[in-house]
Amino acid sequence: MNRLSDMRTPLARAKGLGGLADGAEHWTAERVSAALLGPLTIWGVAQLLRLAGRDRKSILVWAGRVQNAAPLGLLIALTGRHAQLGLEVVASDYSRGWRRFGLRLIIRLSTLLFVALGFASLARILITRPKEGQS
């Protein structure tokens, strides 16, 4: 963070007061991830309707296509990031001190795990996908 743009006193900064120690970047990242998630969510809902009632094999064929796997990966990554930012705002509004620190740690770790699990699953589907002709 640029120290010149930080309007807090050194004591306030050391105590971690204010918007999780980096207010403006946090706020902007939340809006940017939200704006990117808009079209991706519409795409995701359309795919959900496309896949409703299909069996496992056709879902695997769908996910194995690059034109589906790429936006799905992006949707997972941005959802994890946006959830992390949003949950941090909620946690920082209702907690202080060690509790806030602990909640922040839990939020960071679980949203990171969310993205890792999504990517690992997607990677496995792409490696083991059934051939399109066989479906």
Binding site: A35, L49, R56, L60, A83, L117, G118, L122, I125, T128
Partner: protein, 153 residues
């Protein structure tokens, strides 16, 4: 209550000179109920619910990647009445969070901040969310019934 810098200001004495914890001024409970406040806290709760639901969705994706047995177990959970209720709740929460986010992005641009506009858009956001939820849920149920009938025949 967590120890907090504000605690320092709550030390006082009563008319007998005994040390007491000074009363806090009333704040949240003095306001009349307004739609905008319910929509605001609703958006926050919808965001949290939407995140939790996304976690379940990724768990479902992991089961899909794992193999046929894990996937059929995941589908048993998802198609259980409780699982369907959770899925519906996730859908409603995400839909409302989506609609409310559009309002927030408009506010961030500096527009629609007048009291009248906020009330109008608030009511609209309720109707848009309800409409989207009903039509998406109907489409999802109709499509999955139609397709699963097709595979059984």
């Amino acid at each position: 209550m967590a120890s907090d810098g504000r605690e320092a200001f709550y030390h006082g004495t009563d008319t007998q000179g005994r040390a007491i914890r000074r009363p806090m001024s009333p704040h949240l409970d003095v306001y009349r109920f307004r739609l905008s406040m319910a929509l605001s806290i609703g958006n926050r709760m919808a965001g949290v619910a939407s995140s939790l639901g996304a976690g379940l969705a990724v768990a479902w994706l992991a089961a899909l990647a794992q193999g046929p047995r894990a996937f059929s177990r995941a589908q048993r959970v998802a198609t259980h009445p409780l699982g369907r209720l959770v899925f519906l709740g996730w859908g409603v929460a995400t839909t409302y969070h989506f609609v409310a986010s559009i309002r927030h992005l408009i506010w961030d641009s500096g527009a629609r901040f007048d009291k009248k506009e906020i009330d109008e858009d608030g009511r609209r956001s309720v109707f848009v969310t309800a409409g989207l939820c009903v039509s998406l849920a109907t489409a999802f149920v109709a499509l999955s019934r139609f397709r699963s009938k097709g595979t059984r025949a």
